[in-house]
């Protein structure tokens, strides 16, 4: 792996001069046969892979009409060129969205357009070769499928769809990515990305109950596989293990407890994440989603609520009903599915929850919109609810809140740099460089407003920031969960004052720069 330099942050994000090939060495580990085969993919590069790839491309462009439109309609206007965080952080022109698309488009043109069949050189069409495949493997694993470019494309071309199709084709010829594909296999085998079996989940949740009762004196339960509960909570398995994720899980538990809502986690569907989407595999995405349906039926719940996970919410909000529906067995009074932020927000509106905002006074917060929530889903009943609801919650539980620059939030939000199946150590250089635009927006509010912490509602974002903040001189604990803030401030019936002594005081506030 190459040496790399952590980029220096600019005062405002500027468009870098093109430096060809700076990231051509970046490429994640390839999946071995033992990882590929359980997902229905060939174990290694198949004989005749060129023809298999071209046939798969034809199949996909016929099956997914959007993909064909995206491949046909680019006019090379250039509006997307400076919109990708990976281009802004790496200067590699193949990380311009149009160039990334063209890696696939040039093959599509060669085999599936008249001009490309007869006059390939005139229309930039090329044969499917080993060099092309290697380029795909490298640069389609330098796209976090965040869809920021699509917001600025006058034709609405969605590079994420093209990137997913390319990964699907690579899986079909036997060149899959180790990180994503091992994880999907783990969900099929055990039920979650981390590979936590039922007894492990039980141990963690019991310890959590003990911890929360010690902290606030209230016996908040974290139930597992409890039949007849009203709510099935489907949350990223990182919430059972990592920090600050687990503090968010404590927040969900306190909200349910205080509102008197009975809930449970399922060991069968102990994962909200669905990496089937990242690899563009409808079949795998569906198989992962079906576990949620099976768990909901088995436990007899009335509602399904998703925890803080960005791409899971895209799959849930946009696709769950067609992937694993119909959900006519659930209570029609509630949205199917519901986001934990919608649950908490509704309870706040109804006056069910009370807060002591001063418990978060040691922090000045900002909020990072996660791509898949911001650009691929919605929350609540009003347009833009995915932007306002999490911010309303934060402002209800915290006194100090500042937004980052307008061109770096809401639907123009910058990716954390680790989404779309790239949250692996073998892509660390890409992750650090790709985080640069977000870091610049953070630096502005740190310098101008004394921001100490950034909240997010995505497990990947939280983990990515934990890892990359220190590269840019910020503390790894600068990133917090939205429901961690809720947990800090919520006033629990029957709580003992003593529990608050453990909370951080202003002097203990995380060092941010």
């Amino acid at each position: 792996m190459a040496d790399f330099e952590t980029p220096k942050l600019d005062d405002i994000t500027t468009i870098p001069t093109v430096k060809s090939g700076t990231m051509e060495h970046s490429s994640p580990y390839v999946a071995k046969p033992v990882i590929q085969e359980p997902l229905g993919f060939p174990g290694e590069l198949v004989d005749d892979w060129e023809n298999v790839a071209v046939a798969k491309l034809g199949e996909l462009s016929n099956k997914y009409r959007a993909l064909r439109v995206y491949l046909d309609s680019c006019v090379k206007c250039g509006a997307c060129t400076d919109k990708c965080h990976y281009y802004l952080g790496t200067s590699d022109p193949k990380n311009m969205p149009v160039a990334r698309q063209d890696l696939l488009r040039k093959v599509y043109r060669r085999y599936y357009t008249l001009a490309g069949k007869w006059f390939p050189k005139l229309v930039g069409a090329t044969d499917m070769t080993k060099e092309v495949l290697d380029d795909w493997y490298s640069y389609y694993h330098q796209c976090s499928q965040c869809r920021r470019c699509s917001v600025f494309c006058p034709y609405g071309i969605d590079t994420a769809e093209i990137s997913m199709a390319a990964r699907d084709i690579m899986d079909a010829v036997g060149k899959g990515q180790k990180y994503c594909n091992e994880i999907i296999g783990k969900v099929f085998k055990i039920g979650n990305n981390l590979g936590l079996p039922e007894p492990a989940l039980r141990d963690t949740l019991e310890d959590l109950e003990e911890e929360v009762e010690e902290e606030c004196g209230v016996p908040v339960k974290f139930p597992l596989d409890q039949k007849g509960a009203d709510v099935l909570l489907v949350t990223p398995s990182a919430d059972f293990f990592a920090e600050p994720h687990i503090d968010g899980l404590i927040g969900y538990g306190k909200v349910f407890h205080q509102a008197g809502i009975s809930w449970t986690v399922s060991s069968h569907a102990s994962e909200a994440a669905n990496f089937g989407m990242f690899i563009g595999s409808y079949e795998n995405m569906r198989k992962v989603s079906m576990r949620i349906r099976e768990a909901a039926l088995d436990l007899g719940v009335k509602r399904i609520v998703f925890g803080e996970c960005g791409h899971a919410w895209r799959v849930a909000y946009s696709f769950l009903n067609t992937l694993a529906g119909p959900f006519d067995f659930l209570d029609p009074k509630y949205p199917v599915p519901q986001h934990i932020c919608e649950v908490t927000h509704d309870l706040i509106q109804k006056g069910v929850l009370k807060f002591d905002k001063s418990q978060n006074d040691h922090m000045v917060l900002t909020y990072h919109d996660s791509c898949n929530v911001a650009r691929a889903s919605r929350m609540g009943s009003k347009p833009g609810g995915q932007f306002t609801i999490p911010r309303d919650i934060i402002k209800t539980v915290c006194n100090n809140y500042v937004d980052m620059a307008a061109d770096s939030i809401h639907d123009a939000t910058y990716c954390c740099g680790g989404g779309g199946g790239l949250l692996t150590d073998d892509l660390m250089e890409l992750r650090v460089r790709g985080a640069k635009p977000r870091m610049e927006a953070v630096k502005q509010v740190v310098d101008a407003h004394g921001v100490t912490n950034m909240a997010a509602i995505c497990a990947i974002c939280k983990s990515q920031f934990t890892k990359v903040f220190p590269y840019y001189g910020y503390g790894m604990d600068m990133i917090v969960s939205v429901h961690q803030l809720v947990s800090n401030a919520i006033i629990m019936d029957g709580a003992q004052d003593g529990g608050d002594e453990d909370r951080e005081t202003a002097e203990d506030a995380p060092q941010s720069a």
Binding site: G195, P199, T204, E211, F241, E429
Partner: protein, 117 residues
Amino acid sequence: MTDKESAFDADGFLEDPQDWDVNMARDIALAEGLPELGPDHIKLLEALRRHYLASGELPPMRHVCRDAGLEENCVSDLVADPKRAWRIAGLPNPGEEAKAYLESSEQHPQPGTREKR
């Protein structure tokens, strides 16, 4: 430790946790750049092993610390990095996602400096 090297995988995790003892922990720690293991280190490693070996749990690090009777941040204080703690405790490779989340609190280079990887 040379005769044991084959028992470690490519990521440096011991393949069979039953092969582990405190002496081996000292060897792994040395290879990981941690020259000494004190009594608190041993308490931490044993607690980590208890959690994992009982149920396959990837325990939240603060639960491990509490179980070991140590401060909440004992992993970052004593070993710096949970992934390193996992290796020194002789536990097997926990998989891609777990490695991604066994986040590091090692010293990171400041902006503008180069990192050797």
